[in-house]
Amino acid sequence: MMTERQAGFRKEYRSRIAGWYNGFVHVLVIYTIGLTALYVYTQHMGNISWWEWLTIPAVILLCNLFEWFLHMHVMHRPINVTGLRAIYVRHTLNHHQFFTDQEMRFRDEKDWRVTVFPPYALVIFILMSIPAGLVMGYLITPNVGWFIMCSTTGMYMTYEFMHLCCHVDENAFVRYCPFVNTIRRHHTAHHNDRLMMEVNMNLTFPIADWLFGTSDLNCGFFGHLINGYSPKYLKSNLKGVPGGPLEAASGPIPAE
């Protein structure tokens, strides 16, 4: 059940959303940029050797670590660097006040404003990936360089998709799809205000959280990946008791 505090914040935040904002257009722009980029990358690839495919899991792992680092040390820490502080404000002071482990759901697509990154974020991530793509493309093979670009762009789009799945209303897909249900529970726990600054920083797959011990679960690597909604392995020494996705989505979505 949403608190008055959360309801009040939502009302204030929504009153400040520009009238022209459309969540569907927002997501469409991001995925148009991403899919176009993927098309451009793949047009430059050919005669792929089997070992060149290994670039994908390697980069996915690096992206996972980067996701953890960005979430822990930029999105949840105030930093006096232009641009980085804005990320903290948008995330800790906006996104985390709008959604809590008591109420995690969008009311409508206008609420995507407080969840989805601005479209230029993907452009920035693509630009950040170019040096690595160029260097590895030169040192190893061009296909490896292009696979790096494919993987980083693909992981960003996966991040946005998984994050949206964490904040939609309960449905069969998010409830039963492996990995999606896991991150949905994982992220709901992260939105507990006593845990949000230090626990459950991954938003795609809880790999780095398992690796660095910042998960709310006490289980192994594969247990983390396929935990689903289960609270069975919750640590006993957490600062707060996290709500689960079923509680966070209980009852009708508040109209206000």
Binding site: R77, P78, L93, Q97, R194, E198, K239
Partner: protein, 135 residues
């Protein structure tokens, strides 16, 4: 003492020893300490972090030590929470050196455990400091 004979950790003692018990004990022994108590509050708002002492913004006290130039934060152990601990203690104790000395322990014990919105008064701070002293 726990049933296994071991010492009870400070954060557990703070939960068990109620604030009311402390205030009753303190008031009986020091009846003059009933008023003039400052109230500190903090909130994460849409317009930023807000921390007040008796309704006025709390000074970060960068003149004592600059742990973080990014302002206050809480609910974790780090530079911004330590700056908050320092500022709170400096204002409450009126002793900058003492505040600096106690800031890390106070940050780890209390600041790292604060919610989105929180309130503290002078008696509560004294209670925590007395528990830290006896630990």
């Amino acid at each position: 003492m726990r049933v296994d004979g071991g010492p009870i950790p400070l954060h557990e003692r703070l939960k068990q020893l109620t604030y009311v018990k402390y205030i009753t004990k303190n008031t009986v022994e020091n009846p003059e300490n009933g008023g003039g108590m400052k109230t500190y509050s903090g909130s994460r708002t849409i317009d930023g972090i807000k921390v007040y002492v008796d309704g006025q913004p709390l000074d970060e006290r960068f003149d004592i030590k600059r742990f973080s130039d990014s302002g206050f934060e809480w609910t974790y152990e780090g530079d911004a929470p330590r700056q908050l601990a320092l500022a709170l203690l400096a204002d409450h104790l009126g002793d900058d050196a003492k505040a600096l000395e106690l800031s890390e322990a106070f940050m780890k014990t209390k600041i790292s455990d604060l919610d989105n919105d929180w309130g503290l008064n002078g008696d509560e701070i004294d209670f925590i400091l007395s528990e830290l002293a006896s630990d």
